[in-house]
Symmetry: C2
Subunit: 563 residues, 2 copies
Amino acid sequence: MASRRRIVIVGGVAAGTKAAARARRCDPGAEITLVEKGELISYAGCALPYYVAGAIAGESELVVTQAGEFAALRDIDVRTRTEALRIDRPAKTVTVRRLADGREDVLPYDSLVLATGGTPLVPPLPGRDLAGIHRLKEPADARRIRAEIDAGRVERAVIVGGGLIGMEMAEALTMRGVRTTVVEMLDRVLAAFLDPEIAALLHAHLRARGVELRLGERALRFEGDGDGHVRRVVTSGGELPADLVLLAIGVRPSVGLARDAGLAIGPTGAIAVDDHLRTSDPAIYAGGDCVENVHRVTGRPVYSPLGSTANKHGRVIGSNVAGGDERFPGVLGTMVAKVFDYTVGATGINAARAVEAGLAALTALVPAADRAHNYPAHQEIVVKMVAERHSSRLLGLQGVGPGEVAKRIDVAATALSFGATVDQVADVDLAYAPPFAPAVDPVHHAANVIRNKRDGLARTVGPLELQHMLDAGGAFLLLDVRSRAEFVARRIAAGARLLHIPQDELRTRLGELPRGVPLVVCCQRGVRAYRAARLLSGMGLGDVAYLEGSLLTWPGDIETGSS
Amino acid sequence: MASRRRIVIVGGVAAGTKAAARARRCDPGAEITLVEKGELISYAGCALPYYVAGAIAGESELVVTQAGEFAALRDIDVRTRTEALRIDRPAKTVTVRRLADGREDVLPYDSLVLATGGTPLVPPLPGRDLAGIHRLKEPADARRIRAEIDAGRVERAVIVGGGLIGMEMAEALTMRGVRTTVVEMLDRVLAAFLDPEIAALLHAHLRARGVELRLGERALRFEGDGDGHVRRVVTSGGELPADLVLLAIGVRPSVGLARDAGLAIGPTGAIAVDDHLRTSDPAIYAGGDCVENVHRVTGRPVYSPLGSTANKHGRVIGSNVAGGDERFPGVLGTMVAKVFDYTVGATGINAARAVEAGLAALTALVPAADRAHNYPAHQEIVVKMVAERHSSRLLGLQGVGPGEVAKRIDVAATALSFGATVDQVADVDLAYAPPFAPAVDPVHHAANVIRNKRDGLARTVGPLELQHMLDAGGAFLLLDVRSRAEFVARRIAAGARLLHIPQDELRTRLGELPRGVPLVVCCQRGVRAYRAARLLSGMGLGDVAYLEGSLLTWPGDIETGSS
C-alpha cells in the first residue's frame, strides 16, 4: 500500500475548509492538516454587515462549523491560532508557529494549499490609527462596530469607499439609526460593476433612505478628540463629523507567504494560478481571496475576491490534491447586493470596462416590471445589457431596483458562461407565469433592444447623452408622446426644446414637426417612444431617435404641473 | 417602388398581435390585417386564475391593448368578431366572415400568419353540458366563474385535471373560500413536468392548504339537479359533490383552418413548422398555441402552449413576414407556478421523460436553503436535477418549496439552451450575497451531487427506492446520523431496520455496525449522511449509500417522540 498522502492547507475560512473537506471525501486515507492564524475557521465573512445591522442576531450564526467539530467529523488535524511562517519548497515543508506559546512545527507535505485570503486596504492617511476607525473582515471587526453602536456612542458614521462592503454597511448602519455618509473618490458607487445610468438610480435610493453620498471626494485625514477617538473625516470636499469610520476601499490579497517562497505573483498582485489552481510550483495550490482569476468575458486576469468563488476553488483544489483532475474556468465578476429596498447586481463587464478592454459595444437600458404588469405584486427594475457590436456576444448585465434583479443577473451569468449571443439570450425558454415574470422577461427585452439597434430598427439616445446634448445646446427637439395627464404630471425639463404630442395624435399632427431638425422621442419607459420613433421614420422623418429608459431613468431635472 | 407587402394574420391574442406589431416596426409600408374571432385582442390568458382569485381586481387589467388603440397606433386593420373560414393557397387569399352581419371578405396576402391558438379539451363524459361546468381560456370564462362565486353559489368545486391551470385554479378557488378537490387520473399532479419526489412535496402542501387530491382517479360523469346545474362528479373512486366544475385536462391546438388548407400537421396534432416558423406552405407562417415546437433537450416535436413562447413566435414571424431571416430554436418546456405559499417549476425533462426518450440519466435530489442559512429570511426549497449519464449533459431541473425556485429554474433553462454539462453548471459564477443565495447555490449543489455520483464518490438511495426496499423487506439497515434530539423528535418509520448513531460517535461506535449488511445512511437533508457514508466507506464498510433528501423529502411514515 502506498504511504498516506500528506496535504497541508494554510488558511481556514472558505477555500481552505472546503478544500480540506473535499480532499477528505476524495481520499479517505490522506493525512490532512489545516493551519489557521485566527481563532475561528469557516466563518461567513459576507454575513458580517447583517450581523452589524442586527438581522443576524448572534455571532455564533456567523460560524459555519466550529473548528473542533470540523476536525473530528472529517479526521482533519485543525490547528487554529497557528501561523504559517515559511515554505521550504525543495524540502516540501511548511514551518508553522503556535501563537499561544510560540512553538514551531515543520509540516511536510506532498501537496500544499494556500488559502491565505485577503486583507482590507488601509489608506496611508494621517490619523488612520485613531480609535473608532474600523475595517470589516472578521467577526471580531463586526463585534467591535456593533458594540460601539450598542453602547450609544455612534451618532454619525463615515464610510470611506463606495464598493460592496460600503453599500451593505451604509444600509446596516442606517438601519441602526446612525447617520451615515459614504465618501467615494470616483463619480459613482460600485464603479467596478455599474455604469453611470444604473449607479444614478442607486444613488437616488441611497439618498432617499438618508445616506449622504460624497462622490468624487477623497478622504484626506482623520481627526480625533483628546481621547484619541476619531471625530472628523477631512475630505477634498470639506469636513465630515464622525463617531465611527469604516475603511472599505477594497481588499488586497495576502501573498506574503507565497511571495517569500518565490511563487509567481500575477499582474493584479494576487497569486498566479493555472486552470487547475496550481501555483508556479506544481506541488502548491492556491485559492480563495489570495489568488487572481481569469475573467471569462475578457480572458484577462482579474482580482475578484468572493465567498462563492472561494467555495468553488476549494472543491477544485480538494479534488486535485487528492489525485483528481478538475479545472476552474474563471469568473464573471458577478455581484449582487441588497441596499435598503433595492437589489443591485451585475455580471460580466459594464460598458465602461468594455471600452477599457477595447471592445466595441452595443447597450440597452431597459426599465421593466419584474412580474406581469397586471400582477399586483410586481415591482420595477432597470437593467442595462452590454453586448459586443460585431459578434453580438453578450458581455454583461447590470440591474437595479425594488424588484427581482438577482434572477436576471444569474440568467446573464449563465449565458455569459457559454459565450451566448443576444439572439440566443432572447430565445431562452425562461420560466413564465404572472407572479414571476412578464411574458417577455426584462432579459429578453434588453436582448431584443440590442438586436433592434444592431439591425437598424432602433436608434437611441441614452440619458447621459441627452444631458450632454441639452448642455451643448445644439439643434434638436425632444418629443414626449405620453398622454396629456402624464405630461402635465412630470416631464423632462428641456425648456423650449420640449414638444408634446400624444402618440395617438402623431399621425394627424405630423405637420407640427419641423423637418430637418433631429428628434429625440421620449415616453415613460421607452416602449411607446420606440414605437413612435419607428412610426415617424416610416413617415419619412429622417433623423429620429428615442430616449432609452425615458422618464424612468432620467437623472436630470424634472418639471411638474402645468407649465 | 415595389407594391406594399400584404400580411394577413389570423388570431389576435399573443402570437398574432406580437407578429402584427413586429411586422409593422420592420416594414412601415406593409398592409397588415389582423383577424380575430373574439371580441378582445391581446388578452393575458395566463392571468385568468389571478382574476378569479381577486388578486387582479378588474377585467380591464387582463387586456394588454384595446383593439382600437392597437390598430390606430400601428396602422393595422384590426377586425375583431371576424372568423377566418378558408384559405385558398393557390390564389393566396383567405376568406373571412364578420360575425355581426355574416358578411364575407376575401383578403389577399403575400404572407399569411396563423395564430389560431388552442382550445381546452372537453372530455366526452355524460353530463358535460350541465350548467356550472367551465373551462378557462378567455376572460369571459373567468368572468363566469367569478360571478358564480361572487353570488355565493359555490361551496364546493371539482377541478378535473392536475395540470398547470388545475394547480393555479386550486389556489384561486380555495382563496375564494371554495372547498376544492382536484381529480387527476395520473398518480401525481403536473406529471408532465415533475417526478414523483417533487410532486409528493407539492401534494403535501396542497393538502395542508385544504385542497383534496384524488390522484389516480378518473372522472366518469357529471350529475346535475333539476335545474340542469351540476351537483356531483362521479369518479372511478366515488362521488364528489360539486357546485362548480372546472375542466382543465389540457389544451388542443386549433388546427381546423390549417388542416382544411392541406398544411402539414405534426405528430403532436399541432401545425408543423420549420425553424423559421413557416408551415409546409412557404407563404404561410404559424405560431403560438396552434403549432408544435422542437424540444431543445430531446430534439423531438412537443406541444407546449405557453404565452412566453407565443410572444417569441410573434417576434420571429413578424420579422420574417417583413423580409427578415429569424429562427426559433425551440422550447425547453419551462414551467413555473405559484401554488399557495410554494413555487413549483421545471425546465428540460424529468427523469421519467428521460427514460421515455431512451436517455440513461443520473439525478440529484437536494433540499437546500434558498439564501444563506444564517440570513433570517431564508426558506427551504427542494430541487431535482437530471443529467445524461454518459455525457454529463444537463437534461432538466425541477424545484418546489416556499423559497426562491424560479431563479434556479431560469438558470437551468439558460444552461440547457447551451447544452451545458453538470460540470459547467457547477462552475457558473452566480450572484452571491446572503440575502439572495448561499455561497454554494442549490443549482451548484445539485450539479455537484451528480458529479459525485458519476465519479463514484456518492452512492445514493432515493426516497421512493427506500420505500420499495422497506416494502420488499430485504436485508439492509437504515442508519440515522443526526443528533439524539433530532432523532427523538422525528424519524423515518423503519422499524427494526432503523439504527441511530450520531455522526460524531460514528468512529467510536463502528463496531455496532454489522458487517456484510447493506447500509443506507440518512440525516435531515442528506449532507451529513453523504459525509458519514464517505467516512464509513473509507473505514472499509463496503455497501454504503445515503438517502437523498433524507427526512426533508421523505414521503413515507414518520415516527415522533421517544420509542
